[in-house]
Amino acid sequence: MNRVEVEKKVLSENHLLAEQLRARYRDHGLLCVNLISAPGSGKTLLLEKTLERMQGTRLAVLTGDLQTENDATRLMRFGYPVKQIITGGTCHLDAKMVGTHLESWDLAKLDLLIVENVGNLVCPSSYDLGEDCKIVLLSTTEGEDKPLKYPSIFSKAELMLLTKIDLLPYVPFNPDLARDNARRVHPQIEIIDVSSTTGAGLDQWLHWLRRRMQQKNERRLFQTQS
């Protein structure tokens, strides 16, 4: 009996495809964000409000669901390129699905690609989509201990959006406790409180997004010059 050392990622095929996507995004100075949350945390409504307020930005959206084109239909009315990824039962998006759905788009004409993952706090955290950052949404109708129950995604997300804050007077949710829990899992995580219904916090969220887009583009210009 011989022991052969391997040391290779289990998801090496996905990792390779994700790295290829990342290189393409880098070449174009395109920022890609991967939105992840439990079902019903408000990803699609947040995107509607985001698209509405980002008129003129060169952006596109890929939205993933197990079934239906409902989310793409909701998002298409803002005039941006939008594609639905129907996973047919798979609980997460992977780099191959993203790559396939990007085929007909010219990335040189985009500055921002928003990927709305399948509603699920567990499985999407394992799959690299080549994104610059993962963004996790936690809504006030969920438990404050979600970051402790699902540490994988909260430890990998750069930003947490605390959504539905307009409901705080009506729900037994302690936002300080939720923020503390997120920081216990991931001390560096950035947190923005938002309400897609009232518009609270949306300016701060858009500012965060634009700042990240600018940084990405500056990095490309720097690389081009050097």
């Binding site: 052969v4 391997v6 040391e7 798979t90």
Partner: protein
């Protein structure tokens, strides 16, 4: 429940390794799985056994080595195992420590018989 997909990926790696060692039988595959990898080991074993039993690789043992989460302190350089969701450095008390391991999901080794 993405463990079945993970199990299929492990089996693909085994198949690739088997192709590199014709005439040998792989009896065991060892993986290193971080506590932040988001994978449930029981579900992974279940999915793995379901997939393996209909292949030439059966019986094939899956050995899962859990990898704890380790934080590094940017102030004093101390590395420590994080427990009970307390990221504070036990040496200097710094809160903003950084995760340096615990999210890996790697094939570590395979055991090959003649």
């Amino acid at each position: 429940m993405h463990e079945l997909g993970i199990a299929a990926s492990i089996l693909e790696c085994v198949r690739a390794e088997a192709d590199r060692h014709p005439g040998f039988h792989i009896s065991k595959v060892g993986i290193r799985m971080g506590e932040l990898s988001g994978v449930d080991s029981d579900a992974l074993r279940f999915g793995f056994d379901c997939l393996v039993k209909d292949t030439d690789f059966a019986p094939l043992v899956l050995d899962i080595e859990p990898v704890p989460r380790v934080q590094r302190c940017p102030q004093c350089g101390n590395e420590f195992r994080m427990t009970e969701y307390d990221p504070r450095c036990p040496a200097c008390g710094e809160f903003m420590t950084q995760c340096v391991s615990g999210d890996e999901l790697n094939i570590a080794y395979m055991e090959v018989d003649e």
